[in-house]
Symmetry: C2
Subunit: 286 residues, 2 copies
């Protein structure tokens, strides 16, 4: 077993200005170092950033929108706007579509992921956003509910404290920014391993990504994920799963899952989503 030498691990990650997707497990530091939000800000262009804040997951969109607005303006962004979309029709407004076309970063706040998808799914806004993200033309971040919507399949809710079973997780359709993953957030904090495993049992062609609070899975456009923040990112890879009873049991029966490959990743760890492989840590270039 490889034991890497101890190193000042906070310096492992080389800075980059490339566009990326930041999937944040909720409760990210908004007061002190704000490392995750700073990284989003930097990737979105830093002093040249024009940021769209979409607070539509929240039931208090004005308050939460204003909070992120202040943070990004304090960091010295050129511009930030809160796109306070409260009706599906709002997302067709030319002003909003134009800002999504011209901004350099989009931030999706927390709240209720079903509400966020209800407002944004299949709108011209999300089509344009997805296209710009996929072409590496824009940096996108989502925290908590804003993280949950990243996959094609989305965890809408569920429980903990039970053996994995079908009734432990409620699935819905997400915004398919990173279609191959199923994201869960507040992951170890809210003991969600059982529900993510239950989700993966029903969609074994996907990869489960469980993100702890104040922790970020930063996806480069080439599919490489890198971990930032104070917790872990859990990868559940069912690619070599040899058996599940999922299709043959009742809703509350315990689920069998044989031969899962699981990685617990912490700060600086890297994982290639398409190759399904851990990558060696990046050594600072300086």
């Amino acid at each position: 077993m490889l034991q890497l030498e101890s190193q000042p691990y906070r310096t492992r990650i080389p800075q980059s200005t490339k566009n990326a997707i930041l999937v944040i497990g909720g409760a990210e530091d908004k007061v002190h170092g704000r490392e995750i939000l700073h990284t989003f800000f930097g990737r979105a262009g830093g002093s040249e950033a024009r940021i769209a804040i979409i607070p539509s997951a929240s039931r208090e969109p004005a308050i939460i929108g204003e909070r992120y607005y202040s943070i990004f303006m304090e960091m010295g962004g050129a511009e930030a706007k809160v796109l306070d979309i409260r009706e599906r029709e709002h997302s067709e407004h030319p002003y909003i579509l134009e800002y999504i076309q011209n901004c350099t970063g989009v931030f999706l706040t927390g709240g209720d992921q079903l509400r966020l998808c209800g407002l944004l799914a299949d709108t011209p806004l999300i089509e344009k956003l997805r296209m710009r993200v996929h072409s590496g033309d824009l940096t996108l971040a989502g925290t908590s509910a804003g993280a949950a919507i990243m996959g094609y399949h989305m965890i809408a809710g569920g429980g903990s404290g039970e053996s994995p079973n079908r009734s432990l997780v409620d699935m819905a359709t997400g915004l398919a920014i990173i279609p191959e993953v199923i994201v869960d957030q507040h992951f170890h904090n809210r003991n969600r391993m059982g529900r993510l495993m239950s989700a993966i049992a029903s969609h074994p062609d996907r990869i489960g990504i469980g993100i702890d609070e104040d922790t970020c899975a930063l996806f480069e456009i080439d599919g490489v994920l890198q971990v930032m923040g104070k917790g872990t990112v859990t990868v559940i890879d069912p690619g070599k799963m040899s058996y599940t009873n999922h299709a043959h049991i009742g809703a509350t029966d315990p689920i069998s899952l044989h031969d899962l490959r699981i990685h617990i990743l912490s700060y600086g760890d890297r994982y290639h989503l398409h190759q399904r492989q851990i990558l060696p840590p990046q050594v600072p270039l300086a």
Copy 2:
């Protein structure tokens, strides 16, 4: 991915009268079907069973001892005795040693695993018990605290709701009945995946076994584990773990664990502890 045909799975497990080790995740059914306790009773000899109940983990040993005594006598056992060991010296008493030598089954109740080990570790009683279990001469069951003590390394306590980290689990030395495992109980019920992973990070030469409530990992003497009861048994196999930062981080830093192999096993599933392989289900012989 293999999808086995649905079958009446409660009939999958052939009956056996061979001696075994039953590791029970706590809160086993004591009132209705009592399948797990019935299986222990059958493996211990059924109507010819002479059972020793050791309630020493509990702070109310008389009450809990009496409860199991009634259950096993109701089932029709030839004899049951509560060995109410409250001091280390009690375990050297000739009456007790003789009963351990002549009984056909031993049942360890729940309570506090540190208390149980404090009373039994390195006593003539436990030496004799371990020898008889290993030679297939006796059936042993332990539930909750009585399950926790099965490994050489034992989880004495810990928390949940955090990223895996060294301070999430308190380790101690167990009674080494099945030295190669680290057992955790009330597993999904109390959200203990994080603490068992943290335990495995510190002892990657062991296999983590997490057992849900009213669920039993029944170990045959040849090292084959079979699942009974209403929940799951989680196997964490770090045999091909490619990296952990465990030795290089502070007590509360998040732990990396790369390339864990994990199985969630439910009723009838079988796993070979020494080969580290899932086995095909047993088909009823009739």
